[in-house]
Symmetry: C2
Subunit: 148 residues, 2 copies
């Protein structure tokens, strides 16, 4: 079996490139987010809250494509760290509304210094950046349509 006919070669697999790239970017965030006392998924939750304000857990899950099994303990940790508050909604006791505390809101200013560092480290020009983002979106959309 020569190389070109072997579909199981690691270096040819887009999926591995994706997996490796994702982990390397998370590793890039780690020291920066450590300064803020956050993990990458926690930072993503805060991005949603900073952008949209108080949100039910369901909406956070929809925005980040994460389920309750991931979000429930994560939100508990954010609450334990004083960044968010959770409260049952009065009009629908099933729903839990997640709100930023003063501290959680204040953290946004410090977080503003993160994206520029990430952008520089990625080493892509504006055009490459947009092409990559577009292809990743297309890929995710296709895959999720296929999975559904």
């Amino acid at each position: 079996m020569n190389d070109t006919s072997n579909p199981l070669l690691l270096r040819d697999q887009l999926c591995f490139s994706l997996y490796a790239a994702s982990r390397s970017v998370t590793a890039l965030y780690r020291p920066l987010l450590d300064e803020l006392g956050l993990t990458y998924p926690q930072y993503l939750v805060l991005l949603v809250l900073w952008e949209h304000g108080d949100s039910p857990v369901k909406d956070l899950g929809a925005a980040l494509q994460l389920d309750y099994g991931t979000l429930s303990p994560l939100l508990k940790r954010l609450e334990a760290n004083g960044l968010v508050r959770r409260a049952r909604r009065a009009d629908d006791e099933r729903s839990v509304s997640v709100a930023l505390t003063e501290e959680g809101l204040a953290l946004r200013d410090r977080a503003l210094s993160v994206p520029p560092v990430i952008g520089t480290a990625m080493g892509l020009d504006d055009a490459e950046f947009e092409v990559l983002r577009g292809l990743l979106s297309k890929l995710t959309t296709s895959v999720q349509a296929y999975t559904a």
Copy 2:
């Protein structure tokens, strides 16, 4: 603060696209790999072994960019499932050589049916596929150079 000047918008973050795409692809693999009794990282380890044969744990880690903390328990599970054997090398007792069993070798034939399904579901043409793979490699290289 209008949209174009806010660097903390979720939808603009390439990193989130990458994170979401990676998880969606792993989710796509899951039902296929379940048939083979494998997880995605386990499948990656087997890709390396099918391609290169017996390898020390160190080499598996280098190929997949995973550390011993991840690989040691993963390899234990592969061994418990009868797919690999681990043995200390006689010429260097520090090194553990990971070898495929008959069963692990035989699994390769069944794994050949996986990549075509993944390829179809991703919904990218050949050109997009190569552009994406190239940009991901460039990104990973830049990020790792920056991290180092």
